[in-house]
Symmetry: C2
Subunit: 423 residues, 2 copies
């Protein structure tokens, strides 16, 4: 069987399973999640052995330490994965939720019912825990899933796939509801993202180049996010304590996450008050600065702080590192223009006490999350109350921002009549 | 300037205009719609002359009568178009609607705000009234639009475009908020559907081949519907009066519309009671029948009624004509399987008095509209209370079913804080 044939058979099975998954009760789906957690516990030794195998191979082939770290499964990590399953089981089931049901003058009642998308293809890098995360969210939202993880995690992913199968079997759900692609042939991805008759949506998770390639080549809708070039704008009517706290938190909470601040914008009327204090704080975290010329003038050189004049490319850059670009802007309009031009439409925040400016920022900044007086770090499915997220979308179509269970469903119209005909 | 360059300049202008449109007040947008209606009235003579020019050219090139009819504008048609604008002005503005705003344990408030998609590209055939319909819906939802109508309507569309421009100018909105492509070069479509940096969504309206080609070649999300192969299933627990009324209405209200019934499914337990009466009624409308073998046996030949045994292809066919396929099925499960297999996921109805069967049909039929005890003819934006529709989507992503103003928007997250940082 060629890789293309293998994938198409997988697609057919997934499509067939999706019909049964769409009808599975909340109770059955939750029972499957708990059974998977139990299987993880039972099979933890085999799981750790499979992971050890992946780690050894990856070490031998000189995988970068950061990637090795993501690949590694620990006993504690397995416990956390099992807890994650219980958390997904605790989430409200979106399937069947019916809203806006109302009578029309014709006498019919019209409403919208939430239904699964069908088959979801997920492509991700070598993080075995994503296998279980993604499987659990697709299952709870009544979808079938085809999962394609990075080849370095092949053995770990198959061991996790076995646990998933056990869980599905125990509650009599089809095992093909969650299938893990068991070939490292890259052609598998090409087939997965073009099987329009079997797959309803693709969610790529990983680096930008992976996501760009998939978006370019997919013939199926893709829920994706590319960059997280996030901004905080400190307005001249900002509370200075909130301004410093939020800016420091947005930059230093974690560097490698997509909701970290990458560029700070400061209104010129308060830049001389805020920037020196801010720079001092950032120095404690050893943050390297890329400054516009006005900011450079306001910050007399501090011993040992790494800083340089920002170039045009800096405003576009998602550093994902202890580096921050700072620009002094004339006013909120300049800040909004900068964000909409250089930003990635991910998450942007304003700090201000001025009502009208807050409103203007909320409505005019064209990003998936727009924040007033809080850190960009809150842009996250858990913080928003979605419970878990399959990813963050910077697209405008279908889902925008953190994508939870609802993002894996769509709404169909239902009509309840009593014999009405249309004249 | 090449066609590609022409389109890209148009794209740039649309993108710039979309920023201003997103911020336009409801009052300004409504004033523009009324100003357009006034301009239509003022320029009706020029409009009819331009249309006459198109009609003469089309007649000379032997355009099919049905297409000629769609192309023609009349004085009454212009009045109807102006009324359509007033109706769109009367719709609730979706932009800025904020829902689900709630406090999180961290103290932040999280909600979702409805915002325009940006730039919408609409590709349609030679129906000049679509130019104004589409423009008004894009404008009211705060989007910029690029409209590409069929070449046969070129002069009519430009005359309508002039009215749109006048309306936008009068309220100081950018005239590039609605641009009508003024070239009949087919390359314009190819460019429009691949300018990912300028266009956010494509809505094709027209025949299946047009929509298929656009879906295949587009690099931008497409809101589309392909087929309307709609079913009515008459259950053995159906009220016989409702069953006959709904079946007759779903087939005969109009033949050329996407929500017309194309296949009737009848439970075997009631087929002998319902089919003869139904066939008699259908004969009055001169409906040609394509019958499964069981149905054929139940219908002793009636004088003059055209009928034949249905072949496999009939179950897939959207006749858009006074033709109806009829199949006797064992039970509701067989009906649902048939619909999900042969249908086009557009609109399907059941007639039954049984509660559990109604629920099963609603949840298991995978269509954009699922109807109990009412005619498929209700699947329509006006009947659903959307006010107007840009089209009906049979996709699952983003919008499903009739697409009104909300379908031309997306929801971003907003976060209202009071200085919160994330730990």
């Amino acid at each position: 069987m060629t890789t293309a044939e293998y994938m198409r058979v997988m697609g057919q099975h997934a499509k067939a399973a999706s019909v049964l998954m769409a009808q599975a009760s909340t109770q059955t789906k939750n029972a499957a999640l708990y059974a998977m957690a139990e299987a993880l516990h039972q099979r933890r030794v085999a799981l750790l052995q499979a992971n050890e195998h992946d780690i050894q191979k990856a070490t031998a082939s000189d995988l970068a330490p950061a990637l090795l770290e993501r690949l590694e499964l620990t006993e504690a990590g397995i416990v956390a994965m099992a807890e994650g399953l219980a958390q997904v089981a605790a989430l409200v089931d979106p399937v069947g939720q019916t809203t806006e049901l109302h009578y029309r003058p014709s006498g019919i009642q019209v409403g919208r019912m939430r239904v699964p998308l069908g088959v979801i293809g997920i492509i991700y890098e070598s993080r075995p825990n994503v296998t279980l995360d993604a499987a659990s969210l697709c299952l709870k939202s009544g979808n079938a899933a085809i999962l394609r993880g990075g080849s370095e995690a092949a053995a770990s992913n198959q061991a996790i796939a076995d646990c998933i199968s056990v869980g599905l079997q125990q509650v009599n759900l089809p095992t093909s509801a969650v299938q893990v692609v068991n070939t490292t042939d890259r052609a598998a991805v090409g087939e997965l993202i073009t099987m329009t008759e079997y797959v309803d949506v693709i969610v790529p998770r990983g680096g930008k180049s992976l996501i760009e390639r998939i978006s370019r080549e997919a013939r199926i809708p893709v829920i994706k996010h590319l960059d997280g070039n996030c901004h905080v704008y400190l307005d001249d009517e900002a509370d200075p304590v909130k301004a410093i706290d939020i800016a420091i938190n947005a930059k230093t909470r974690r560097y490698g996450v997509c909701n970290a601040m990458e560029t700070l914008l400061v209104a010129s009327a308060c830049a001389d008050r805020l920037l020196p204090e801010l720079a001092q704080n950032l120095q404690k975290f050893n943050i390297e600065l890329r400054l516009c010329e006005r900011a450079m003038l306001l910050l007399p050189e501090t011993l040992g702080q790494r800083r340089q004049i920002a170039v045009e490319a800096d405003w576009f850059t998602e550093y994902l590192a202890p580096v921050l670009a700072i620009k002094v802007v004339d006013n909120i309009s300049a800040a909004i223009d900068h964000i909409n031009h250089y930003g990635s439409h991910h998450t942007d925040a304003i700090v201000t006490e001025n009502y009208s400016k807050a409103q203007a920022f909320l409505t005019q900044v064209d990003s998936s999350s727009v924040i007033v007086n809080a850190s960009t770090g809150f842009a996250d499915g858990f913080e928003y109350g979605l419970g878990a997220e399959i990813g963050i979308s910077t697209d405008k179509i279908h889902a925008r921002g953190p994508v939870g269970l609802k993002g894996l469903t769509s709404q169909k119209y239902i009509v309840l009549g009593n014999g009405q005909v249309r004249h």
